[in-house]
């Protein structure tokens, strides 16, 4: 993310009904002839980060959540910086902001800023790659160091479609998650889109559970969803072996 582009900071907490565009209160009442009233703005804006070692399928999880297809027209030449997606849950409209950081394998001070703002953290490993599971404590250290204590944690064992190459049992994943207070666990396949929507909705649901019931959305305006850049692997770790798929 470009630090100059501080999109999540919005002066005065004006919410997005402010200004001359979009849901101006002065106009809505007078528009009775209009068939559809302008929809209400989002109730929440949430930041969720997806972290995990290289090759575990973080970007695939994000793409699967946003859609099943993509077009090369922009992506191949410039690349997607981030996306805004709207989901509805429990009658609430939630704007998620998703950063696509594929190819940005750097680890710097921006990273800690991502952690700090995150309301939810998805920690991903690959069930077919031992080293990605062994990296989890390293990721937990980052979470402990930088993330808010209130952040919802979800551990995801990805690549369930590669069951025959599985080296990490479901029980191992469950056991790891159970040692960390409040951490949920599930297995998923971004390839088959198995459990992917559920992962995000579960996380959003958990986040909503923690929020004060009637908090005005403008107080949550700092919440955005982003995709975590991958840190560079420390030199002592071997490069991930591509064994599957």
């Amino acid at each position: 993310m470009d630090p100059r582009y501080e999109i999540q900071r919005r002066g005065g907490g004006g919410g997005f009904s402010g200004g001359s565009v979009g849901g101006s209160p002065a106009l809505t009442g007078a528009q009775s002839r209009r068939r559809k009233m302008p929809p209400r703005p989002a109730d929440y804006k949430l930041q969720v980060i997806i972290i995990g070692s290289r090759g575990v399928g973080k970007t695939s999880l994000m793409e699967r959540f946003t859609d099943d297809t993509f077009c090369e027209a922009c992506k191949s030449t410039v690349g997607v910086d981030f996306k805004l997606k709207t989901v509805e849950l429990r009658g609430k409209k939630i704007r998620l902001q998703i950063w696509d950081t594929a190819g940005q394998e750097r680890f710097n001070s921006i990273t800690s800023a991502y952690y700090r703002g995150a309301k939810g953290i998805v920690l991903v490993y690959d069930i077919t790659k031992q080293e990605t599971f062994e990296d989890l404590p390293k990721w937990m250290k980052m979470i402990d160091k930088y993330a808010s204590e209130d952040a919802e944690l979800l551990l995801v064992g990805n690549k369930l479609d590669c069951e025959t190459d599985r080296v990490i049992t479901r029980q191992q994943g469950e056991r790891f998650a159970s040692r960390i207070s409040g951490m949920r666990f599930c297995e998923a396949s971004a390839k088959d889109n198995f459990n992917v929507d559920e992962i995000f909705m579960k996380l959003v649901n958990d986040i909503l559970n923690k929020l004060p019931l009637e908090m005005p959305s403008r107080e949550l305006s700092n919440s955005v969803l982003s995709l975590q850049p991958e840190p560079e692997l420390p030199p002592e770790l071997p490069p991930p072996r591509a064994r599957c798929c």
Binding site: V21, Q31, R34, P38, D67, K75, V80, D81, T86
Partner: protein, 133 residues
């Protein structure tokens, strides 16, 4: 850039009355032409005329950093919003100079719109590059 073949907003002029309400807002939902993903709900954007160059949406001819080599259109009819959280679903490209192009959040077709980093309260979506329903 200015010498590029200009495509006026005239193509949709006859339809503008069906798209723009009396108070200048979008009467219909703004949707992706390819996958139908909802970009804007009705009444959330205002109609704005501004000459903006958008690279072609066709594959392999997309955006490059080098000006003058880009195939695209000069477009003038746009939906304007002042807060990116007004969008239902939208994607932003990485910076191309001081510009971020808007794309479909789902199928990533684009550019469908334009945003300049110098004006953080202006996000344009070209009428010609979206559907209305």
């Amino acid at each position: 850039m200015e010498n590029n073949e200009r495509i006026s907003s005239g193509e949709g002029c006859a339809d503008l009355t069906k798209l723009v309400s009396e108070d200048g807002k979008n009467m219909k939902s703004v949707l992706c032409q390819r996958c139908g993903s909802k970009v804007l709900c009705p009444g959330m954007a205002i109609f704005a005329e501004k000459e903006l160059f958008l690279p072609s949406m066709r594959k392999k001819t997309g955006i490059t950093q080098v000006e003058g080599t880009v195939d695209g259109d000069m477009l003038t009819a746009h939906w304007l919003v002042d807060d990116m959280y007004t969008f239902e679903n939208v994607g932003f490209t990485k910076d191309v100079g001081k510009v971020k192009y808007l794309i479909c959040a789902d199928c990533e077709i684009g550019p469908i719109g334009w945003h300049c980093l110098d004006d953080k309260k202006s996000f344009y979506v070209a009428l010609e590059r979206v559907n209305h329903a």
